[in-house]
Each structure stands twice: as structure tokens, then as C-alpha cells.
């Protein structure tokens, strides 16, 4: 039973993630007054990438991308079967670090700058992610997702500050403007495609699929803020996820890319104010 569940998670997660990306592209296009691609376009892209001739700049750098995918999948599995939320965060960090190392391993100037920026982004958003996990623990007395979703009161009641903070740093994780300076889906930036500059074909497809997993992982966190043992909360959670996603798309289209200085400062200040204060206040009542 568990194996079927895990298999379903591994297969379905990227499908949902890919669909979300498709919807994103359509909505973005409409906001910009364009027709936009079909919803299934991300899948067409990935299939096309897989058929391309494999070329590479050296023997080592794609290895990190595969390893990264494996640990991101592991993160998704841990979260969705109801595992420990902090362990999931650590596994995701491992996946992200491996991805960054891939950028370093290609030994190309653009990739390296991308890696550095990605690392800086991680430093910016990591405190908030950790505090969110701890916030859930304080609110629901368990680190396990399976326990968090069985609560009477949704976590957002205890953790409104955490929620806002998490939405703020979600922009990093979804690679949206104003915080998409390590690599963006739009290739015309000053560092070309950042970390992904030297990847092509299958390897680029793998990176795309990894991102789909990461999207779902990010929205699982959003969902957890609303989940209770009441079945209706599932619907509420999903609607909340869509609203947050819409908000992120709106921000993506409404803001230009910021400098890294601003990203680091703002993320840390938001974490310190919203995350820490929420935690301090909650610890008085719990």
C-alpha cells in the first residue's frame, strides 16, 4: 500500500507541477495581453528537450543535476506520505546544494555567477523555511505532516505571521521576479540562464522536472497552513494554494528583478519580524 502511494506521488507530482506551470504561462500571457501557449506546453517542451542531441561541456556537471532530482523527489515523498517536516526541509536543502554544485562543476563564468546567486538566495530564504517547520511543531505539537493535517484548528490561526513570511520567500522558490536572479525562465538576463546556462537536452529536461517537484513541495507547505481533519479544509487549502499562486504570478509580472542586496535584506527582515514575532507570541500561549 505504501509502495503504491509512493509510486503515485513520484508519478503524479510532476504531472500536477507541469500543469501548474502551464496554467502559469497562460495567465502570465493574458496579463501581458498575449494569447499564450497551450496548457500542456511545459510537457511538450520537456519531451522535445529529451529528443535533442546530448551535448555537454564536461563529464561531471550533469551528475549533480540527477542527484539533485533524486533528493527533491525524496523530499516530495517524505512530505506527501506524512513524514517529518524538518527532515523534508533538510532533504530539500541537500537537493538544492547539489544543484548549485552542478553550476560550479560546469566551470563556466555564467553558471558560477548563477550558483553564487542561488546560494545567496538559499541563505536568504532558509531561516524562514526552518522557522515555518518549527512553527508547525509549536502549533500542532508534532513535526509530522500526518499529525499536522489531523488538527481541529488550522495552523494559520496560530501562524498568520509565518504564513505571510512564507508567501514572501515563496517567490524565491518559484523562481519568480523580483527574486529570480540566479536563473530565470526568461533567458534574456545579464547572466544568460544562470546555473542552467551550460545544460541542454535531457539534462535541462531533468532540471525542469525537478522544478515541478519543487513547486508542489512549496505548495504543500501552503496547504498545511489550512489543513484540518475536516474534509472541507482540503478544498480550502487547495483554493488557498491557487490564490497564493495567482498572487505570485501577479507579483512576477508587476515587479522588475531586484538586486541581491535587497533580496537578502528584505527576506531576513521579513523573517525576523513576521517569523520570529509569531513564534515568540505563540510560545506564550502554547
Amino acid at each position: 500500500m505504501l509502495i503504491i502511494k509512493i509510486l503515485a506521488i513520484i508519478i503524479l507530482t510532476p504531472i500536477v507541477g507541469g500543469l501548474l506551470t502551464g496554467i502559469d504561462r497562460v495567465i502570465t500571457a493574458r496579463m501581458q495581453g498575449r494569447q499564450g501557449p497551450p496548457i500542456l506546453q511545459p510537457f511538450y517542451d520537456v519531451f522535445k528537450l529529451i529528443q535533442k542531441e546530448p551535448i555537454e561541456v564536461n563529464l561531471m556537471h550533469r551528475f549533480y543535476v540527477y542527484l539533485s532530482l533524486i533528493f527533491v523527489i525524496l523530499t516530495a515523498v517524505i512530505l506527501l506520505v506524512g513524514g517529518d517536516i524538518l527532515l523534508a526541509v533538510f532533504a530539500l536543502t541537500l537537493g538544492s546544494v547539489l544543484f548549485i554544485l552542478g553550476g560550479y562543476a560546469s566551470n563556466s563564468p555564467y553558471s558560477l555567477v548563477g550558483s553564487e546567486r542561488e546560494l545567496l538566495q538559499m541563505m536568504a530564504y532558509e531561516p524562514m523555511v526552518l522557522l515555518t517547520g518549527i512553527g508547525f511543531y509549536l502549533a500542532d505539537k508534532s513535526f509530522f505532516v500526518s499529525d499536522i493535517v489531523k488538527n481541529d484548528i488550522p495552523a494559520i490561526v496560530y501562524l498568520p505571521g509565518m504564513f505571510l513570511g512564507f508567501v514572501f520567500i515563496l517567490t524565491f522558490k518559484l523562481r519568480k521576479s523580483p527574486f529570480d536572479f540566479s536563473m530565470s525562465h526568461h533567458g534574456h538576463q545579464e547572466i544568460v540562464q544562470g546555473i542552467t546556462t551550460e545544460y541542454s537536452g535531457k539534462d535541462l529536461a531533468v532540471i525542469e522536472v525537478t522544478h515541478w517537484y519543487e513547486e508542489i513541495i512549496a505548495f504543500t507547505f501552503i496547504f498545511l497552513f489550512f489543513a484540518t481533519k475536516n474534509p472541507i479544509s482540503i478544498l480550502v487549502g487547495i483554493i488557498a494554494c491557487f490564490l497564493v499562486y495567482f498572487l505570485e504570478i501577479l507579483i512576477d509580472n508587476g515587479f522588475a528583478r531586484m538586486k541581491w542586496n535587497f533580496a537578502l535584506k528584505s527576506a531576513w527582515i521579513v523573517t525576523a519580524v513576521l517569523g520570529s514575532l509569531n513564534l515568540i507570541i505563540l510560545s506564550y500561549f502554547k
Partner: protein, 636 residues
């Protein structure tokens, strides 16, 4: 003479032997065999006593105490003389205060006090003995090979290898004594010996810088010693005891907190916490084996060991809160300072200070989970940090630099060192390696005991830690695709200890559930008088071990895929101006220019001097606040 006495005296014998023998080959053999024997002895002691522990006193306790007094007078005489000779009067002053004080106390009061247990070997000392015995002796073996290269590269320094190696062994002996003594005057004696040893090691090269830094280390540690001496006198006079175990089992009433505060102060100086951290950062001028010893197995661990012993009295007391605060400041600010460093040894030094801060937070919170994390942190930090120091030492000899920016070429020179360095760094911050497991439990312990500030500090600190380690790792992997050009031979004395260390780092991650079951849980159960449980659930432990297995198996399983899958290699992208060699591009005037790539250091934000300055000020304020609270508690 039982095994434990042998364990303390044997390194002393080796120290004397290495000091006397001037022939390189014979001395090398003696050091190697002696160190191996020490490691073996440590294991033997563990096998014999670990299950039940042992406490005992010596027949000729009085004679030993007199011998120690004589030695203390000799050491004090030495310190006072060199202090006056080199115009570093502060060390003389500290010595003049503490030694007569202790002598007076011992002669006037001390002999009336009955000491039931001079030596205590329990599970905590057992773990410390293993760390000191195994990691310490590996470092000694490494020193044989390293020092040969060192004097080959640095002809300007006078060769005093015998002296250096012998001090290393003296250090080990003092460390064993320190973790095994329950009689506080003996503990204090060993404490002072380690201070003296670190002074001698740091000052090895006799340059101006080495001299300055060694005196700073001596001054700060002797300052801690003064606090220690006052604590002993206070306890002896007020409570008529000299036993550490009796002190730690007292009720945490206001008067008890005075010696506890003094002891904690001594521990903070030894563990290089703010505002006393400058000595450890300056200790890097010494040859690498001594840095490895100071940073991993000995010295700094002595401080946190004492805080763990005092843990039952700290908790939410004013002293406990002050110590926790200092740990928080140290962890966060020295992590930030590490970001701006590019010198490998400096990064390691700041990271040591930071991690000790974390251990201090855990130990001073003193809950069951927190202590679990603290002891595990000591184990994992010792093995990873020692591995990295030894690697950096060898790297410096191989590529002629210890700057992280230069390590991109390491893969061309020595694949092995590249891999071992990588393992060491991974051990410091990545899941599923040891340090992360401990940090995870620490986080849980902080939130369970409602130390929200510590939670926030650890969240930020971990993110910063990730930044500075990952960019170092990046430099290591960036050269990994290049062909190995010229393999300098690593001497066998360097290669074997480094390899064993790397294996220890990985194996200890697999073994942590066993360490927990057989050492930590029984120790904590006994300490708290109620059943302790492992703070991580079984399912999580299994997942961690699975992740570790994946990290080992997957790279190996990639090899056949790589063999089969031949791809076209293309040049990297350089905006169309690549000259074809992936290193140079055509500049604006058509000339070839080299593309240089450097990491980010964010000096404008986290300048290390500024961080240290802020950290020291906050730490001093916290100490003052602690003293005020303490006095307030007494007045009540």
C-alpha cells in the same frame, strides 16, 4: 596501577621519550607506535569500564597532591619569569594571583577535606576519552609527516620537532587527566597544563606574530584559570568538598551559583566564546597539527565538557541564561564572520567558534534533548573538524596555498585530498551527516524548552553556515572534471590519518543510533533519574541512514551509465568570445584575456572585524547582566 592511570601516564612517557630522542627516524617510529598504543589503550579502557563505569581514589592521594603543588609552583615560576622577560605582565599577574591562592588553600584548608572519589570514569568521560585517544593520536601520527614537510617549506624557522611532538603528547595526557578527574584541584592542574601546552604550541615558530598570539592565548586562558581557582576556594571553604560530582548534584540555590558562574567563565574562555574568542582565532599561526588538536579533540572541548558537567545547575538560572546568551551571540556572529573569509584555516577557526557556541547553548539549556545534541555535536565536530584541518594542512603543502580560491586546482594535484576535504565539509552541514542530525535535535530541544531566541539564532546561523560551506565545496568540485596532472606524493604519515578520519566521519553517521543507545541514553537516564529516549523517531533515523546510503551508492551506480553514454563535448558559453580553451576569451581589443572566477564574500555586510567587535560588546553586556542577576539572587 590500573588501566586508567596507565592511560594518563603513558602519553607522558611518550612525551619524555620524543623530547629526548633527536634522530628523526627513531622518533617518528616512537611517535607512531606510541600514538597507536594510546588509541588502543583508549579503546581498551572503553571496553573494560564503559558498561558500568568506575570511580576510585588513590592510596597516596596526599603525595600526589603535593607533587601537583610542586609542579604548579614550577609552572607558575616559569610563566612569571617569561611574562616579565617578554614584558607580558598580565600573564605574570594572573599567575601570581592564582598559584599562591591555590597553594594557600591546599595547605591551610584543602587537606582537611575528604575526597571520596578522585577519579570518575562514566559514560561522558568515556566518550571524551575515545575522542581524545583516537582523534588526538591520529593527529600526532599526522604531525610526524607534516612537520617534515613543514620544515622543508619553511626553512626560516628553527627546527624544534622533538619539542613540538612531545608537547602534543603532554597535551593528550593532560586532556585524559582533565576528563577523568573528579577532584577539582587535579582537574584545575590539568586545566592549567592544557593552557600552557597551547601557549607552547602556538608560539612554536617564534615569530613576532606567533609570540603575540601565544601570549594572548595564555593570558585569556590563565584569566579563566583565575576564575577556576576562586571557584575551588569558594566551594572548598563553603561546602567542604572538592568533588565535581558533589557540586553538580547540589541544589541550584543562589550561593552555589557563584562557583558555578566562575567555572562557567573558565569554560567560556577555554571554549573561545565571545568575548574570549580572539585567542583561538590567533592560534592559527601554529603548524596545522596543533591547530587540529586545539580545535577538535582537546582544549576547546575541555571547556564545553565542563559546561556539560555543570548542566544540571544551569538551565533557567541566571548563570544558565547568561551562558546561553553568550552561546547565541557567538554562534550567529562568528558564522557571519566566516562568510567573509577566504583563508581556509580562518574559515575553519570561525566555524569552530560558531559550533562551540552551539554546543554551549545546548549544554547550558541542559534539558535531556539538549544534552543529547550537545554530546553528539562534540563527537561529530571533533571528527569532521580534525579531518578538515589535516586536509588543509596537506593541501597547503601540495598547492602552496590554503586560500579557498586556489583550491579549484586541487583536483588536478590530488584527487584524494579533494574527496576527503569534500567529505569533511559535507559532514559539517549537510543532511544526513552528523552535525546536521545534532543541529536538528538542538532545534527541537530549543523549542521544547521555549528558548525562542535560540531557535531564531539557529535558523539564521544554519542558513549562513550553508552559504560559506557550500561555496567552498563549489570551489572543490569546479576542478573535478580536469585531468589529474601531477600527483605529489602524500607521505604515508599524512595519508593514513586522513583516510581513517574520513572513514570515521562517514561511519559515525551510520553509527549514531548505536552511540545514542549505548552511551547517550544510559548517561542521560542516570543524570536525570528518569528514562531518556532518543529525540529522533525511528522512522526518521531509518530515512537518514537511507539518505546516507543513497549518497554513497548512487554516485557509484552512475559509473556504468557514464561509461556507456558518450556525448559530444562542447566549449563553455562565453558570450561568443570563447577562444576555445574554456579559460580565456577575446577582450574588447581582440586580445586574449583570462576569465577569473571568485566566490562572494559579502565583506560590506559581514566584515569579520565588525562582527567580532559587536559580538564582544554584546557578550560583555550579557556577562555583566549575568553578574547583576547573580548578585540580585544572593540579595533575595
Amino acid at each position: 596501577m590500573n588501566l586508567i592511570t596507565t592511560l594518563i601516564l603513558f602519553p607522558l612517557a611518550i612525551a619524555v621519550l620524543t623530547f629526548l630522542i633527536r634522530n628523526d627516524k627513531i622518533r617518528g617510529a616512537i611517535v607512531t607506535i606510541g600514538a597507536a598504543c594510546i588509541a588502543l589503550l583508549a579503546v581498551l579502557v572503553t571496553v573494560t569500564y564503559f558498561q558500568n563505569g568506575i570511580t576510585f581514589s588513590y592510596q597516596g592521594e596526599e603525595a600526589i597532591s603535593y607533587l601537583i603543588m610542586v609542579l604548579e609552583v614550577l609552572i607558575a615560576g616559569y610563566v612569571i619569569t617569561i611574562g616579565i622577560r617578554d614584558k607580558k605582565y598580565i600573564v605574570s599577574v594572573f599567575s601570581i594571583i592564582q598559584t599562591p591562592l591555590i597553594l594557600w588553600f591546599e595547605l591551610a584548608r584543602g587537606h582537611e577535606i575528604e575526597v571520596a572519589k578522585d577519579m570518575v570514569y562514566d559514560k561522558l568521560s568515556g566518550i571524551m576519552v575515545l575522542i581524545v585517544g583516537i582523534i588526538g593520536s591520529l593527529i600526532c601520527i599526522y604531525a610526524v609527516g607534516y612537520m617534515r614537510d613543514y620544515h622543508h617549506h619553511h626553512k626560516e624557522y628553527a627546527e624544534r620537532k622533538s619539542f613540538f611532538l612531545s608537547v602534543l603528547f603532554l597535551f593528550l595526557s593532560a586532556m585524559f587527566g582533565l576528563v577523568l578527574s573528579n577532584n577539582m584541584t587535579w582537574l584545575y592542574f590539568c586545566w592549567e597544563i592544557t593552557s600552557l601546552c597551547s601557549f607552547l604550541l602556538i608560539g612554536y615558530t617564534k615569530t613576532e606574530e606567533a609570540k603575540r598570539n601565544s601570549y594572548r592565548a595564555l593570558a585569556i586562558n590563565l584569566g579563566g584559570g583565575v576564575a577556576f581557582a576562586f571557584a575551588i576556594v569558594f566551594i572548598g571553604i563553603h561546602y567542604k568538598t572538592l568533588e565535581l560530582s558533589v557540586l553538580t548534584s547540589m541544589q541550584p540555590e543562589a550561593a552555589v551559583m557563584i562557583p558555578v558562574f566562575l567555572l562557567a567563565l573558565a569554560a567560556l574562555t577555554k571554549s573561545a566564546q565571545f568575548p574570549f574568542s580572539s585567542w583561538l582565532l590567533g592560534a592559527m599561526v601554529a603548524p596545522t597539527p596543533s591547530s587540529a588538536l586545539l580545535h577538535s579533540a582537546t582544549m576547546v572541548k575541555a571547556g564545553v565538557y565542563l559546561i556539560i558537567r555543570l548542566a544540571p545547575l544551569l538551565g533557567n538560572s541566571p548563570v544558565g541564561i547568561a551562558v546561553t546568551g553568550i552561546g547565541c551571540v557567538t554562534f550567529l556572529l562568528s558564522s557571519l564572520a566566516a562568510v567573509t573569509q577566504s583563508d581556509g584555516k580562518k574559515i575553519l577557526a570561525y566555524s569552530t567558534v560558531a559550533n562551540l557556541g552551539l554546543i554551549v547553548i545546548c549544554a547550558s539549556i541542559g534539558s535531556q534533548e539538549a544534552l543529547w545534541a550537545a554530546i553528539l555535536l562534540i563527537i561529530f565536530h571533533a571528527s569532521s573538524k580534525s579531518l578538515m584541518f589535516l586536509c588543509v594542512g596537506s593541501i597547503e603543502h601540495q598547492i602552496g596555498s590554503r586560500d579557498v580560491e586556489d583550491m579549484a586546482v586541487l583536483a588536478e594535484v590530488s584527487r584524494k585530498l579533494n574527496l576527503f576535504m569534500f567529505i569533511g565539509i559535507a559532514g559539517m552541514f549537510l543532511a544526513p551527516f552528523g552535525m546536521l542530525i545534532s543541529k536538528w535535535v538542538a532545534m527541537k530541544a530549543f523549542i521544547d524548552s521555549k528558548h525562542i531566541l535560540s531557535v531564531v539564532v539557529i535558523a539564521y546561523g544554519s542558513a549562513v553556515t550553508l552559504f560559506y560551506w557550500a561555496k567552498w565545496m563549489g570551489k572543490l568540485v569546479s576542478g573535478s572534471n580536469k585531468k589529474q596532472k601531477n600527483d605529489h606524493k602524500l607521505s604515508i604519515h599524512e595519508e593514513i590519518p586522513i583516510t581513517i578520519h574520513a572513514i570515521l566521519v562517514i561511519v559515525s553517521c551510520f553509527a549514531f543510533p548505536f552511540i545514542s543507545d549505548y552511551a547517550l541514553i544510559p548517561y542521560l537516564t542516570e543524570l536525570f533519574g528518569k528514562d531518556a529516549v532518543i529525540p529522533i523517531g525511528t522512522s526518521d533515523v531509518n530515512l537518514m541512514i537511507m539518505m546516507l546510503a543513497m549518497l554513497i551508492i548512487i554516485p557509484i551506480s552512475f559509473i556504468p551509465i557514464y561509461k556507456k553514454d558518450k556525448r559530444r563535448i562542447v566549449p563553455i558559453y562565453m558570450a561568443g568570445e570563447n577562444t576555445g580553451d574554456n579559460e580565456t576569451f577575446y577582450g574588447g581589443l581582440g586580445e586574449k584575456r583570462k576569465a577569473t572566477m571568485r566566490n562572494w564574500y559579502l565583506t560590506e555586510y559581514f566584515d569579520s572585524k565588525k562582527m567580532l567587535y559587536i559580538g564582544n560588546i554584546i557578550a560583555v553586556l550579557i556577562l555583566v547582566l549575568g553578574i547583576i542577576l547573580l548578585i540580585g539572587g544572593l540579595a533575595k
